[in-house]
């Protein structure tokens, strides 16, 4: 009897350890593209502190929502999702600071403000990676099935939002993103909108990717297009504008440039949203 308990404990501990390792790996994977970007480091220390704080504050409910959907026990509850989210955040914080330090991006000549700013910014994608690392690299797939049908719709949108957010985070700090918006004229921007919508829709419903959604019987294609693709794309746009604003890319811009930048950023964002629906 006692031997079994001991076994149970060590097995549980081992599983916990594996979970942490997967989370660590996931966070490194998600942070890698951003991490080697100079603008990302600079943003870490010149970015407006209030906006950085806002970003981090909004990250927490995002993580809780993701963790709620990716829970790895059948009977998990909300409290566990909260703990999960904070654990992912902590793991991400450590993996980010470790990476930044080992590559010499952070060193002890810097002020605490600089170091913390750069690490905090990296923690945003890293924590998403830490959470997803456990589902994709291991334990359980995200179950949208859980919950009522009404909430299923909004969870789909949420997943799209996470995908879009991830791509927006990766691309918006770069100089090139802003330059592209200056070089793009209005007709090209309109074209981008249509292409984004078409790609989003076909990725998820038409081209036979693995993990693709089957359109439920009796529901018209127009209905799906409006409710999922169009609504999803609008969400991508909102997220793009939000990220551009948070990184101060929008300050002093005219409305025309804000809209064109949002459309330009929403193109990869919509790819991210579509991919998230397929993968997660």
């Amino acid at each position: 009897m006692i031997a079994n308990e001991e076994e149970e404990k060590s097995r549980a501990l081992a599983q916990f350890g594996r979970g942490i390792a997967r989370a660590f790996g996931g966070s490194l994977l998600f942070t890698a593209p951003l991490f080697m970007t100079m603008e990302m480091w600079y943003l870490g220390f010149y970015m407006d502190r209030w906006r950085l704080a806002l970003l981090l504050t909004l990250l927490i409910p995002l993580l809780i929502g993701l963790s709620y959907k990716a829970g790895f026990k059948e009977d998990f509850n909300f409290l566990e999702s909260i703990l999960d989210a904070f654990a992912a955040f902590a793991i991400a914080f450590f993996s980010s600071s470790f990476l930044l330090w080992i590559f010499g991006v952070i060193n002890f000549d810097m002020s605490m403000d600089e170091m913390l700013g750069m690490t905090a910014l990296q923690t945003v994608p890293a924590s998403i990676g830490a959470l997803l690392g456990r589902t994709q690299l291991g334990e359980k797939k995200i179950e949208i099935e859980k919950g009522k049908t009404e909430s299923k719709y909004f969870w789909e949108l949420f997943i799209m939002g996470v995908g879009a957010l991830f791509l927006a985070l990766n691309l918006s700090p770069t100089e090139e993103m802003i330059l592209i918006s200056y070089m793009t004229n209005e007709y090209q921007a309109i074209g981008l909108i249509f292409i984004s919508l078409i790609i989003m829709h076909s990725f998820v419903y038409k081209i036979e990717f693995k993990g693709q959604e089957a359109v439920p019987e009796g529901i018209g294609i127009f209905s799906m297009f409006l409710r999922y693709t169009v609504a999803g794309y609008a969400l991508v746009i909102i997220i793009s504008i939000f990220i551009l604003w948070i990184f101060g890319r929008m300050d002093g811009m005219s409305l025309r440039n804000i809209i064109v930048s949002a459309v330009v950023l929403s193109f990869p964002g919509s790819l991210g949203a579509a991919a998230a629906r397929l993968i997660l």
Partner: protein, 137 residues
């Protein structure tokens, strides 16, 4: 993933909650707004070249320099690249000190902030600030 397990009993009409249609409508509204706005802008802005305006905001005494904070606006439509702004401190006809700064790009209908640094106190002299030139991106 996401195969719907709930099959409707009759031929088709699984009831779609109103909230989804409302969300779809909001989404459609946003997308249409963007398209219409862009069409409108396209017609409005026949290519208007950059038009630079400079405004001196304030003069700050720094440690080793005097900082003149400026706002540089581009009231044209096109983006101006490599905008060089020069400031001169004049005593009558004579140039006491000259400084310049460059803005990588100033998009149309936007403004950027910058600064010119002088060793001499700008309050004592006549300060003339002007843009020297730009290039098309």
């Amino acid at each position: 993933m996401g195969k719907s397990k709930k099959r409707s009993d009759t031929k088709g009409n699984k009831k779609i909650p109103a909230i989804e249609w409302i969300t779809a409508a909001i989404g459609l509204g946003i997308v249409l707004f963007f398209i219409i706005f862009l069409l409108f802008e396209a017609k409005e802005s026949a290519d208007k070249p950059p038009d630079i305006k400079i405004k001196v905001i304030k003069i700050i005494r720094g440690g080793a320099y005097y900082n003149i904070l400026i706002n540089v606006s581009n009231i044209g439509q096109q983006t101006a690249e490599g905008v060089i702004v020069e400031g001169n401190l004049l005593n009558g006809e004579k140039v006491i000190e000259s400084s310049e700064t460059m803005f990588d790009y100033i998009p149309g209908q936007s403004k950027k902030e910058g600064g010119l640094m002088f060793r001499n106190d700008p309050e004592k002299y006549l300060l003339v600030v002007k843009a020297l030139g730009f290039e098309k991106p």
